[in-house]
Symmetry: C2
Subunit: 216 residues, 2 copies
């Protein structure tokens, strides 16, 4: 165990904000970036199916190509790192079998012994859901990974900005995702806030707690 | 700043697992629970719209009522706390105006000065999206809150189990959510793992990092 205090957690979650302007000179260290990648890998997903891939775009020319498909938001090119959150576009029995094979590889046992679990997953995810519904399900899952990434970065003192304002079809094209069975959903940029980002100092806007939390 | 090390973060994210069996005797302290509620309030959302409400179900009789609508999963009644993640079911201009009013209350300025921002939000969220699409958007946002909640709990050393396996319509009925303009999406249970939960000791199943992360 390596737990933190409530005060540490809330200090960092309050420090976090959707960074509008990154310092293009400040890069996330290799060690910190590896940590964030590992945190992404550890994201929770329903059934543990991990219906996603995280594409880290380091190539400056590719980032420039993505800029016009991101409403021109400069974080795409200025941030230290850019993560494209993509989903598997046609989840099916193959992905379920891949998970079961991986489970057996890591935990022992046999795929046969997991037949009941397999049937439950196939019934829940594949049967009675068309491709669009399966993709919508996968898309919801990748938002868990986004939430995990934002919290993880904040705790490390790394700034981030989640961005839905992209043209996913153009991202797909630039990154060649459909040929890999993937579709872009949204992105997060990460790095360090510029001293000139006026949003950094503004009070965080949240509805009153009484409007957001109810206890019954 | 109250940052943590990469090692602390990954130790806790590795410690986390979807708890199958909670110790019904162990309760989360009031201080820790307040921290987790505050962490929920601080969750990120697109435009900062917070299209959600978190319903904490403490009443044992209500939990018993929800059990059959949760595939009988015992965490619903055994965990220290149960959070129902609900979304606003018909997001529209009223919610956007509420956000702008709150922004002005906290940051000063005037709603009139935010007219351009308002137009952008209305254009992106309301125009050209029917009620189902707006609800799907809100539902994706609440998964960010789930990811934040799971990471936050893990860092405090509190166990949790995210659960999509509920009947949301029945949850709506039991909790009277539609009359409040809300719909249940999924839940998370939180508390402390039972010593007898055999899943706690199993290796975490993740696909190889090379399959999940790509760098371009």
């Amino acid at each position: 165990m390596s737990t933190i205090t409530g005060n540490q957690l809330l200090t960092q979650l309050n420090w976090r904000y959707a960074t509008k302007q990154f310092d293009p000179q400040r890069k996330i260290s290799a060690a910190d970036w590896t940590t964030l990648e590992d945190a992404l890998v550890l994201s929770a997903s329903s059934f543990g199916l991990q219906p996603w891939k995280f594409i880290i775009v380091n190539d400056p020319a590719t980032r420039e190509k993505l800029l016009p498909f991101s409403w021109g938001q400069r974080q795409i090119v200025d941030a230290s790192h850019l993560v494209v959150f993509a989903v598997k576009s046609n989840l099916g029995e193959a992905e379920i079998d891949a998970l079961l094979a991986r489970t057996v590889a890591l935990r022992g046992g046999s795929v046969e012994a997991l037949a009941g679990y397999r049937g439950m997953m196939v019934g829940s995810l594949v049967q009675g859901r068309d491709a669009a519904a399966r993709k919508a399900w996968a898309t919801r899952q990748v938002y868990i990974a986004l939430g995990n990434f934002l919290a993880s970065a904040a705790l490390l003192g790394i700034d981030a900005c989640p961005m839905e304002g992209i043209d996913p079809a153009k991202y797909d094209e630039v990154l060649g995702l459909p040929a890999q069975g993937l579709n872009a959903v949204m992105v997060a940029t990460a790095g360090y806030r510029a001293a000139t980002d006026k949003y950094a100092g503004l009070p965080k806007v949240r509805f009153p707690k009484a409007d957001v939390i109810a206890t019954v």
